[in-house]
Amino acid sequence: MTQVTMTVNGRAMSGDVEGRTLLVEFLRNSARLTGTHVGCDTSQCGACVVHVDGKAVKSCTMFAVEADGADVRTVEGMANADGSLGAIQQAFQDYHGLQCGFCTPGMIMSAAALLKDNPKPTETEVRHYLEGNICRCTGYHNIVKAILAASGQDVSAIAAE
């Protein structure tokens, strides 16, 4: 067992982990932050996306020891300071960008990373960026729409051509 310490959503978190403990397991089991989900075991689905030192990372593909000392942000850290939904979260609710909610944390974290690098993405860019996030409920329609809306673009004409 090795002790790791990291900052998660602005708070220091420590725990003893095995060498094989994944970052997502540390977040879910040691930090008790169960918003980050595990949907596959091949780094394909993206339900586990978090930000590590500002970059989107699939937390099922990183060992907890690799994140020792890192600054980690999860979906629990995406609301505004007053507890209200952040802009991306709010857009997902406004445009019905989630149904069962299981892929949603990863979608929110990926969308945040996309908009940080590319504040006004095109539809094609959004769809391409989401290749690593699988949703089974929405057919992606309202997810793409929500992300475009969160970027401040007018989505009122979508699918009403």
């Binding site: 299981f102 949603t104 699988i134 089974r136 057919g139 309202n142």
Partner: protein, 786 residues
Amino acid sequence: MPKDHGIGASPKRREDVRFLTGKGQYTDDINVHGQTYVHFLRSDVAHAKINKVDTSAASKMPGVVAIFTGEDFAAIGGLPCGWQVTDKHGQPMLEPKHPVLAHGKVRHVGDPIAAVVAETKEQARDAAEAIELDLTELPAVIDMKEAVKGGALVHDDIGSNLCYDWGFVEDNKAAVEEAIKNAAHVTTLELVNNRLVANPMEPRVAVGDYNAATGDHTLYTTSQNPHVIRLLMGAFVLGIPEHKLRVVAPDVGGGFGTKIFHYAEEAFCTFAAKAVGRPVKWTASRSEAFMSDAHGRDHVTKIELALDKDNNFTAVRTETYANMGAYLSTFAPSVPTWLHGTLMAGNYKTPVIYVNVKAVFTTTVPVDAYRGAGRPEATFQLERVIDKAARELGVDPIALRRQNFITQFPYATPVAVEYDTGDYHATMDKLEEIADIKGFAARRKASEAKGRLRGLGVNCYIEACGIAPSNLVGQLGARAGLYESATVRVNATGGIVVMTGSHSHGQGHETTFPQVIAEMIGIDESMVEIVHGDTSKVPMGMGTYGSRSLAVGGSAMVRAAEKVIKKAKKIAAHLLEASDADIELKNGKFTVAGTDKSVDWGGVTLAAYVPHNYPLTDLEPGLEETAFYDPSNFTYPAGAYACEVEVDPETGKVTIERFSAADDFGNIINPMVVDGQVHGGIGQGIGQALLESCVYDANGQLQSGSYMDYAMPRADDLVFYNVDHSCQTPCTHNPLGVKGCGEAGAIGSPPAVVNAVIDALQSAGSKVTHIDMPMSPSRVWAAMNQ
């Protein structure tokens, strides 16, 4: 102006806030004090005799609490099947045993052989690797047509791999043969409805807990229907009466059918929690999900459509081989029969129809209901054969469909169901408008200028939702009733809690069900809360599947609310010193008709619980009512879909360019949620048509066992969909006039995509008439270059 509350409005979903902030509580988020973890050692071969399972070394591994094998379950009931189909000779289907842990033989890759319970998940997994297996491999049984001819048996004791040979309607068989013999034209099509894996994003999880002091069992599980699990597992597997067994299905991350069924892991965790004296938790990996969640579809079909000289349909005949997999999953036998044969009339007035289905055991994961369940299989073959007929006859595929539409309702089909209502010309008119069918020729030219082939595929669908009524399904072999229940509990200060047997795993009931109650009473939706998914809180429930939540569960809720309102009017009448017949309820206020005397909702609810001024001799205090609703018929959503594709002739790659759906769901409670349901269904249908395929090799190895091999549709495979549900013919037999919308997209979309690809290829002179799904670039390229 769209409505801002009540029925027909689209309030934002209240459940979203917890999901968007990471505060949802899915089953894997539940940890019970002192819990242990189980890892299942699963078969890595398709078919083998189990000679010995040696756990001696494994049991000495660190952290191991106990190891169980099939021997430990030999005296315990197996997993039950919930539907008994009767074959064309009047004999019951063959029904093999389905042990919780494999006993004697393993029958598919993933069949659980042993279960290791340990202090940690890692220790359980490590110990499972130390179990020594002595297996004698047997021939895999994969090809359905070969399997029924003889050779290796999946279940030696039942003597055949043919579960049943079903004929429907057997009395029509001779008339169908006669009609085909006399037809002016017969179009024949052989096709495969590809095997799929439902793949809700949340893998299955089970946590079993047992209180030795009280004898109470609790199971937390990823289920669409916790009460059904309580009954099946309690009564048929473990012998636990319902009052000592609580089943909780909290937030569930998608179901799509595959979380209806009672699975071995649920029974194991419940059993083992008592056996080891500590809670037992199991969380499936995605790899385990691929080899243990019930799969869907997997039909091999030949369909013949007979037409007279004027292109009127005169008969349909089908022969289908339906894969059951290695064991009968909970509702598996009903899917290729009563959920498939009964829909073979489609939207058309074909006078005689005969459907033959041979259900076959193979050494593969069990196959059961997946979004649409039988109805996509019916729709696909019918809409494909109609398209093929139109091309053979040189007529417009839309015109051929319109010519044969059913236009008079109610309509009794020759396959035993009665459509209550519909307007198929209206949905086709709407489709032609929103899909801009007229503009297709110009778009095709533009594609051709880029060196791409462009195709347009159109089809219709009809489906049957809210399977019912119980006395009929009982005659058809269901071993369950198909009603729903709801309790409407009004609190003293006027707030309402609805306990519904429907289960939401993405459908949004927590938002949409209050819209109905708020409309009925005239109060704010925020005064209504929905409770579901816990057998200790909800009196009874048959759960959510077959697009039944609103049509059946919503109807039960309406009936319970009507009883509440009836009683509340009596209380109001007493308070207002009037006759209850004169009391009107509007905007949350009870008024004596024609007067200004009134009492508001809160005044009545408070009186019900503080009955100082109350008719105690005639009326009990309190305001809470329960209703059970058993529908008199299915509901029949229907619609018309159009897909436009581009095909790259160099590579065979198909891209979706436009997708339009015109649906008739009857009355709509929340248009935003309905759109979302259709979007999701279309995404899955396009996935089936272009990407998804669950593949076994000849040795029974699962070759598509992860997201590296099983192509899930991703955002850049899909487009924005153009969906419309303004054509509304309300259901005539339920109180809200609603149909179901959950499965339509997955039912209606696959034939549109295939029809479009065939249209694209034929536009370039290709003679290809069919390509099996998924239409991968290699399949399309091969078809173009054959």
